[in-house]
């Protein structure tokens, strides 16, 4: 018994570790076995278990404290909309709204940003004056950054009277911490998710199968591609001697890693929700097919972009100061600029908040915020010039080749932003950028040495030619599925379902065992967390 307890205590609960698969199996069996009216209660218990297990069960506190934070946050999310609804005067409603958002933001700052701020401030302080970091992170429930945003959205929706406040605390707690949306999102909308959460569901083999297939595909992306690429990008970025060409190769590989990691996590989570017949919003729509950065952000982390627009940008634009700014700009710069300047300022606020949300460190604010804002706004301002240039060069902007060029340009711009995102600090990102500029001409001359550097990075990660082939195969699968879905409207799972059972099972077993054999996991490898695990 002692041995069993010890083993359980040391189990690491992560999406790609066996305990999660066991959890999913138990959840599925219990969910479809209980009377249908109690199904949502099983999910609620699942939330609590998921949050507790994710934190760890080495001690009662480790399990219970994140759970307590989750319940406290749920209590705020539950009570503030009720207060708003009951408050008669607008002034009182607004006060409740501000208080609710402030409380949730405080939780976010405390659990997610405090250390980043301290570390940033320490950078400017002399020795002896530096502040010691405070670690609240172990108390923070998994996905706090996601469910706080969902909660804020819910409070604001009730304030705007889009729908009434939920009267049951348990139901609010279920929506707030619905476990498939915790690790890396998506950010759920209360009105959208509540129907499928509280509707009774009978076991549906088809949906179960589709969900399981998506989970397998997620494992493939995460364990075969992302975690394999991670060791190489780590070796390239971590070496101060890495010159331009290897670094640029590393950035493209990082793009593959980041996409496989984040979208892999989404596939596991959305597949899990699909097994339970809960509809969660998609968070990705083949982002690398975007022709510009604005479109990229409509395809990448979709729910964050929509949330930020709905709850930051539009309210800001409708606010009195922005209205006055618009009037002032119209007087000063004319009608056109008078209209666009306030929207650019609101966009800046939006991107800074997104940057802060990614972790608060200056590198995030810059790479996931300000830099993207500069690129998007710059692109829009220079659009007339680009139009003239392409007219002058007689470029057919509807041609496939131009489309591919635009896709590649967008990828390059994102890689530039990820140069800073992947660096330890903003300064080291800037240094790496300078190094790339400085060594680029030399690298072009000594291209063999650059290739050698890349091969050395693979070798230092313990990889051989087969690993490179596996990475290439993974990339080919992603690309093929992407093209089939994007360009031909192909539903891969449905097509698989429509083929005969031998082909279907062959494909499924192939991918399952491909992950089991070629995945990066198990003793000797660390169970890697998802990059967007906030």
């Amino acid at each position: 018994m002692e041995l069993v307890t010890d083993i359980l205590r040391h189990s690491l609960f992560r999406l790609t570790s066996p305990p999660f698969l066991l959890f999913l199996l138990v959840m599925t069996v219990v969910y479809y076995s209980v009377p249908k009216k109690h199904q949502w209660k099983v999910l609620l218990a699942g939330n609590a278990l998921f949050i507790g297990l994710y934190a760890g069960i080495m001690s009662v506190w480790q399990f219970a404290l994140p759970l307590a934070v989750y319940l406290a946050a749920s209590l705020i999310i539950y009570s503030v909309p009720i207060i708003i609804q009951r408050a008669g005067a607008e002034r009182k409603k607004r006060a409740a709204l501000i208080a609710g958002i402030a409380c949730l933001s405080l939780l976010f700052v405390l659990f997610r940003l405090a250390n980043s701020f301290i570390l940033t401030i320490n950078g400017f302080l002399p020795d002896g004056w530096r502040l010691s970091p405070i670690s609240f992170s172990w108390i923070a429930p998994v996905g706090i950054a996601y469910f706080l945003l969902s909660g804020i959205g819910y409070i604001v929706d009730v304030y705007w009277e889009k729908y009434p406040a939920e009267r049951s605390f348990a139901r609010v707690a279920l929506i707030a911490g619905f476990f498939p949306a915790l690790v890396s999102g998506p950010i759920v909308r209360y009105d959208k998710i509540s129907e499928s959460l509280f509707t009774p569901h009978s076991f549906d083999y088809q949906k179960f199968k589709f969900g399981a297939e998506r989970v397998i595909y997620g494992f493939f992306k995460k364990l075969v591609i992302a975690d394999r690429a991670s060791a190489v990008t780590g070796a390239l970025f971590g070496n101060p001697e890495t010159t331009a060409v290897p670094y640029i190769f590393g950035l493209f590989l990082f793009a593959l890693q980041l996409y496989s990691d984040f979208s892999g996590c989404m596939d596991i989570m959305l597949g899990t929700a699909e097994i339970l017949q809960i509809e969660l919003p998609e968070n990705f729509r083949r982002p690398f097919f975007a022709r510009n950065l604005s479109e990229f952000w409509r395809r990448w982390h979709i729910t964050l972009g929509l949330w930020a627009k709905d709850y930051i940008m539009y309210p800001l634009l409708k606010s009195k100061p922005f209205f006055e700014l618009g009037v002032w700009c119209r007087k000063k710069f004319g009608r056109k600029l008078g209209k666009t300047i306030p929207s650019y300022v609101a966009m800046l606020a939006l991107w800074i908040i997104i940057g802060l949300w990614h972790g608060g460190a200056p590198k995030y604010v810059f790479s996931s915020g300000i830099l993207l804002w500069i690129t998007i706004v710059g692109g829009q301002l220079l659009q007339p010039a680009f139009d003239k240039l392409s007219g002058f060069l007689r470029i057919n902007r509807k041609s496939g080749a131009y489309g591919i060029f635009c896709n590649f340009r967008t990828l390059c711009l994102m890689c530039f932003a990820w140069l800073f995102f992947s660096a330890d600090t903003l300064t080291s990102g800037a240094k790496a950028f300078i190094r790339i500029i400085r060594t680029f001409p030399g690298d072009l001359i000594h291209i063999g040495a650059s290739a050698g550097h890349i091969i050395a990075a693979f070798k230092s990660a313990g990889y051989n030619l087969y690993d490179i082939l596996i990475l290439m195969f993974g990339f080919a699968v992603l690309l093929t599925v992407g093209i089939l879905t994007e360009k031909m409207g192909f539903n891969v799972r449905q097509k698989l379902q429509d083929t005969n059972i031998a082909v279907e099972w062959f494909v499924l077993f192939f991918f399952i065992f491909f992950v089991i054999i070629f995945g990066i996991y198990g003793p000797g490898y660390n169970v890697a967390d998802f990059i967007y695990n906030l």
Binding site: D6, Y205, L508, I517, G522, V527
Partner: protein, 368 residues
């Protein structure tokens, strides 16, 4: 009614499909696990132990690589008539002695346990360098037993702590990385399958033949009486193992087989000796009897830590005599129930002669 039947039939079809899918998965998973396990010779020997006739052993020699390359059970049978088996694996760690012996005692009831004392010195509790063999041990022991789980948990706790414990309980998770040598793995798995058949003729009773040789420099530390403390994990494991031996009412001799010992190590063994003797068990550092054994540092070792096939024969003769005198182990050579040992010895002798010839050739080629 029709709809209900239809719906039932769809449900039944789906249930059958799901069951078949899971069955195929299990079969493929088991097959791949079998292929991907290391299937090393020492693992095979642990598995072969299960093919022995119940309660047929007089002695078990348990320990690390020293045990499996130093004690020749068939040689001891031929010279002294008692039956023995090397229950061991390279880099056996102190905390794994108890589960390994406990598992071995499920089918045998030996009168004596000879314990390789070196692991109690080298086990530190941070045994990352020995992780591979710790995993090999768990994959070679009988599966799904408490002792197997214990070894797996120990491996996690002392060799890899900080990672996911559950992956130490699924061999495919531990060894899937060997896909890079898939062809070799298939061959090894096939050898393993053949070697663990009940009527396998190549049984060596746990002894591992090594076709290597090296000259070494032996030191004499017999006069060193100081003792240096063992690591906390080493000492706790030793005490716990001693407690287990007592609980099972077993006779045991703790032995350090000859090798290139250092003064620091001797001081560590002196600690083992004092703990062992304080608890009423015997201790023997065979390094003090190198002359009596007639061991040559130029001919009888294959590296600093291990005897070769010639040295092992000398050590077996010496220790066998010591055991016969001190523990009165029975001589079964005229017992028809043990005739299989005579047959086994003949086959084994041929194997040994071939290896000796090999090592001899190595020595000659070095001389030239």
């Amino acid at each position: 009614m029709k709809t209900k039947t239809g719906s039932f039939s769809v449900k039944a079809k789906n249930a059958i499909r799901l069951t078949c899918f899971l069955l195929i998965f299990c079969v493929l998973f088991s097959l791949l696990t079998f292929i991907f396990r290391p299937n090393l010779a020492e693992g095979i020997h642990l598995k072969q132990y299960d093919t022995l006739q119940d309660n047929s052993l007089d002695m078990i020699y348990i320990g690390g690589s020293v045990c499996i390359v130093s004690w020749m059970p068939y040689e001891a049978w031929n010279e002294f008539g008692f039956t023995s088996y090397d229950v061991g694996i390279s880099s056996l760690l102190a905390y794994n002695f108890q589960p390994l012996l406990d598992e071995a005692l499920k089918t045998q009831n030996p009168g004596l346990i000879v314990v390789d004392a070196r692991p109690f010195y080298y086990t530190t509790g941070h045994d990352y360098e020995h992780k591979y063999f710790a995993l090999v041990l768990s994959s070679s022991m009988k599966q799904n037993t408490y002792n197997n789980f214990k070894v797996r948990y120990n491996t996690y706790k002392y060799c890899y702590e900080g990672e996911d414990v559950s992956s130490y309980f699924i061999d495919m998770m531990s060894f899937h990385g060997s896909w890079k040598s898939f062809g070799d793995q298939v061959k090894k798995a096939d050898n393993y399958r053949k070697a663990t058949l009940t009527d396998n003729p190549d049984l060596t009773m746990g002894f591992l033949f090594v076709k290597e040789w090296q000259k070494i420099q032996l030191g004499d530390f017999s006069s060193v009486t100081d003792a240096s403390p063992l690591s906390e994990t080493g000492e706790q494991s030793l005490l716990s193992f001693i407690g287990y031996l007592r609980e099972k009412n077993l006779k045991a001799l703790f032995v350090v087989a000859p090798y290139r010992e250092t003064e620091e190590e001797r001081m560590g063994y002196n600690s083992v000796k004092s703990i062992v003797e304080e608890n009423g068990f015997d201790f023997l550092n065979a390094n003090d009897f190198v002359q009596e054994m007639g061991l040559s540092q130029d001919a009888d070792f294959y590296n600093d830590n291990h005897l070769n096939v010639f040295g092992a024969k000398k050590y077996t003769s010496f220790l066998g005599e010591y055991l016969r005198e001190k523990y009165s182990l029975a001589d079964h050579r005229s017992d028809p129930d043990y005739s299989s040992w005579d047959e086994g010895f003949k086959r084994w002798e041929n194997q040994r002669a071939a290896v000796e010839e090999n090592v001899d050739a190595l020595m000659k080629s070095d001389g030239e």
